[in-house]
């Protein structure tokens, strides 16, 4: 069964460093997403990506964050100058169409710890 894969599963980084979280969405999907879950809090939307550009982003997704689809298979989330409060589980997801037509499939998540 096709699945969304994320690497690494855990990442520890020093405050102020840049991190790149990687995702391989399901191959025929057209919409890609990043969500995050701070420990003990809700899963929150960060950004959606379609047709090689950001289609929507939340207030959380400020200039510190960026996304890229560098080739036909990978979808990355870059966090510049990480802060302690960026520590969270980050989930990548993909869907074939928009969420009003089809479901999103999520990866296993990357647990980011900023120290």
């Amino acid at each position: 069964e096709p699945e969304v894969t994320q690497t690494p599963s855990h990442q520890v980084t020093q405050m102020g460093q840049e991190v790149i979280l990687r995702c391989v969405p399901i191959s025929n999907h057209l919409y890609f997403y990043w969500y995050r879950q701070i420990l003990g809090q809700k899963v929150e939307f960060l950004v959606s990506f379609y047709n090689n550009e950001i289609s929507e982003k939340s207030e959380i997704f400020d200039d510190q964050f960026s996304v890229e689809r560098p080739d036909g298979s990978n979808f990355t989330l870059k966090i510049r100058s990480t802060k302690l409060e960026d520590s969270a589980m980050y989930f990548c997801a993909s869907s074939y169409q928009g969420l009003l037509n089809t479901e999103a499939f999520f990866g296993q998540g990357t647990r980011l710890t900023v120290v």
Binding site: V43, E44, S48, S58, G98, L99, F106
Partner: protein
């Protein structure tokens, strides 16, 4: 404010007992409704979804959910719980007015006692 509410943070049921997890939403537009499950150390797995049609939907692992528009609810049920169902369950909603993204409830942690 638009929101998704899962009123129960923790639920404990005995193995073999029935289960109902509650989910309420507050959106004016037609909702598109989902239940996801997260086992320890795992990602979010889709259990079932509702887009339109029959308001009782069947999902994987023996789960079902019923959409009740009058109550703004989408409760998840299972007639007989197995120990392997212990996990955290998330209700999520998408609506046209909120765009192409999911809004999640806070989750309900299910414990199963033998």
């Amino acid at each position: 404010a638009q929101s998704v509410t899962q009123p129960d943070i923790h639920i404990t049921v005995s193995e073999g007992a029935s289960l109902e997890l509650r989910c309420n939403y507050s959106y004016g537009a037609t909702p598109y409704l989902f239940w996801y499950v997260q086992s320890p150390g795992q990602g979010l797995q889709l259990l079932l979804k509702y887009f339109s049609g029959d308001t009782l939907v069947q999902g994987i692992k023996g789960f079902e959910a019923e959409f009740k528009r009058s109550q703004s609810s989408f409760n998840l049920r299972k007639p007989s719980v197995h120990w392997s169902d212990a996990a955290e369950y998330f209700c999520a909603v998408a609506t046209m007015e909120y765009g192409n993204k999911l809004v999640f409830g806070a989750g309900t942690i299910l414990r199963v006692k033998s």
